[in-house]
């Protein structure tokens, strides 16, 4: 067990290292001056002397492997560099944005899990009937819609035409709410983006829950329970659902890893000031260091979530523990 975890940790450390190497190599492999990716469009206004100074400051005159070593050292110490467009250390910018994204994607994750599992279990229980096939088609449809488009439609309907929900942002600008009304204001701004994320991400949850419930319902111990005359609802909730939840729990933990990557387009549509919107702003401003930092945070989260699964799954499922 310990050996497996060490091997897995090593493998995920490798993923991080590759992501960092990609970050390091991209600006240098593009042919042009890597300086251009650090100072952005200002490069045209710099004198050759100024360029040399900045190059020395960033260590761009050192050999490549020393540069890479320095880069790794900086990132490990939490120094992600300087954002050109925000004119601030990237670490500080991220600190503001991350909790906002976590609030948004966390709510959507919990919501899509609860609804997805409930519907999935129900669909499995009524498998093969007309309603089961119809639900499957509906979920395939939900999965086919682009997330940003769903967001645009919701804004057009609920914010512009019905005027019941705010159009954009984390809270109402220029008005200082206190206490409960502040919470209410934030919650109101949360409804549409959370709904959008839930709509586009619920399918995987539903399909996993349905599939795993179908598998469990076909197991012998369920047949035994039925033959003992145990009530169908009791079998469903006490015997089947508990085991069927294992893959759902795994998917949930893996999804935690994608809290930042899933938010990019939705936060862009709603101008929701989280990490996803920040990545978009970095693209628009051609702020490459900021973009790279966003990529590293997203990768780190995915890797951390994968590791979490490796550690937690054996605790949830004793069968794995016995073999491990």
């Amino acid at each position: 067990m310990v050996r497996v975890i060490t091997a897995k940790t090593g493998q995920y450390a490798l993923v991080l290292l590759i992501a960092l190497a990609l970050n390091f190599l991209l600006p240098r492999a593009m042919g042009g001056d890597p300086l251009q990716f650090i100072v952005g469009e200002d490069i045209g206004r710099l004198t050759p002397e100024e360029r040399d100074t900045i190059r020395r400051e960033y260590g761009l005159d050192l050999p490549l492997y020393t540069q890479f070593g320095n880069y790794l050292g900086d990132v490990l110490q939490g120094d992600l560099g300087w954002s050109i467009s925000k004119k601030a250390p990237i670490g500080d910018v991220l600190k503001q944005r991350i909790p906002i994204t976590l609030l948004l994607t966390g709510s959507a994750l919990v919501l899509s899990t609860i609804i997805g599992v409930a519907l999935g279990a129900f669909a499995a229980w009524r498998r093969g009937r007309r309603s089961d096939v119809a639900t499957l088609t509906v979920f395939m449809f939900l999965e086919s819609m682009p997330a940003f488009w769903v967001g645009m439609l919701l804004i057009a309907i609920f914010s512009v035409n019905l005027r019941i929900l705010p159009i954009f942002g984390f809270e109402t600008p220029y008005i200082r709410y206190e206490g409960l009304s502040k919470v209410g204001d934030i919650a109101k701004h949360l409804i549409l983006p959370v709904t959008t994320l839930t709509i586009v991400s619920i399918s995987a949850m539903f399909l996993t829950a349905r599939y795993s419930m179908l598998t469990v319902l076909g197991e012998d111990y369920i047949t035994v329970a039925r033959s003992k005359g145990i009530h169908e609802r009791w079998i469903l909730f006490r015997h089947a659902l508990r085991n069927a939840l294992l893959p759902v729990a795994t998917l949930f933990m893996l999804r935690v890893g994608f809290v930042f990557s899933g938010a990019v387009v939705v936060e862009t549509v709603f101008s929701y000031p989280g990490l996803g919107r920040l990545i978009f702003e970095a693209v628009v401003a051609r702020d490459y260091p900021l973009l790279q930092a966003g990529f590293i945070i997203a990768t780190f989260t995915v890797v951390a979530a994968n590791l979490l699964v490796e550690f937690v799954y054996p605790m949830l499922d004793p069968r794995v523990r016995a073999h491990g």
């Binding site: 993923v15 488009w149 057009a156 693209v283 990768t299």
Partner: protein
């Protein structure tokens, strides 16, 4: 995120050539109509989508059935030509992904050992990288063009097909006819090309269709974020301009925002239906004995 395979109750006995289901027909009709518009774009589209042919922000009329955009271009014509761009990107990226995936799957599943270990670890690494941020990063550095998107999407999407094809090749490789071919003195290349490759074609098609659906969605996201080709407008870029000009704040959303999204959804859903129908015949894991 990989969804688990969907199993529907199979009919008691499938005949040799199964009749296409309603789902299959719907899928083919959806994708077929979009493909028709894409192929015959010059005849289907009433105007040149790159020219201002009306006033800005015209409402739908007999002249412009979906109105005009902020610089007076005909939105319906943009949609028709956008079908070309979106489909081309989707199909080419899927082609890149399927070819690499099949190659890796064949090598990995046939030779096993060190090659397999190395390739599958590579797959693990790719699958553990956050998909969209990676694409955004690559697209931002490589510059926006159709070619960039095709290569980037293709290079990141081959991991899943390669895994599926590998497991099929492993199960095919253990069959008697492969042992017989080897006994008759067939070399590795001959066995792979003549005996294993044909067996994987059905699965390749499924993976191709699924990759195409994914690539079309990803392309729309990248274009929507302003990373699409600025010259070749796709459905995603139409929505990018609609968003940038706040089309959903005015009545324009009904004819500027809804149609491109419907087109994307129709295409992706159609491809998903086709893949779903094909999978039941191609994926040995789903065939009940």
């Amino acid at each position: 995120m990989a969804s688990p395979p969907i199993t529907l109750p199979l009919p008691a006995r499938t005949t040799r050539v199964p009749r296409p289901s309603k789902l299959t027909i719907t899928g083919v009709l959806l994708v077929g109509s979009i493909a028709f518009a894409a192929v015959f774009a010059p005849f289907v589209a009433p105007y040149d989508p790159t020219q201002g042919v009306g006033l800005p922000f015209e409402r739908p009329s007999a002249k412009h059935i979906l109105g005009t955009n902020d610089i007076g271009q005909d939105i319906f014509s943009e949609m028709v030509w956008g079908a070309r761009v979106s489909l081309t990107v989707g199909l080419l990226a899927a082609l890149v992904a399927t070819v690499i995936g099949t190659l890796v799957g064949l090598i990995s599943g046939y030779f096993r050992g060190v090659a397999d270990a190395f390739l599958m670890r590579t797959v693990d690494v790719i699958l553990a990288l956050p998909f969209l941020p990676l694409m955004i990063l690559l697209a931002a550095f490589l510059g926006p063009s159709i070619l960039t998107i095709v290569i980037v999407v293709g290079l990141v999407s081959w991991a899943r097909p390669s895994r599926v094809i590998r497991s099929l090749v492993m199960s095919l490789g253990a069959r008697d006819y492969i042992t017989a071919a080897r006994g008759l003195g067939a070399g590795d290349v001959r066995i792979i090309v003549r005996h294993l490759l044909p067996g994987t074609i059905a699965l390749m098609v499924v993976e191709f269709v699924q990759a195409a659906a994914g690539a079309i969605l990803i392309e729309s996201s990248l274009s929507f974020l302003g990373l699409g080709d600025p010259i070749q407008k796709s459905w995603g870029s139409i929505l990018y301009y609609a968003q940038a000009r706040s089309a959903f704040l005015s009545g324009a959303w009904t004819y500027w925002v809804i149609p491109p999204g419907v087109a994307i959804t129709m295409t992706v859903l159609g491809l998903a239906f086709i893949a779903f129908s094909l999978e039941r015949f191609a994926n040995p894991r789903l065939v009940k004995r």
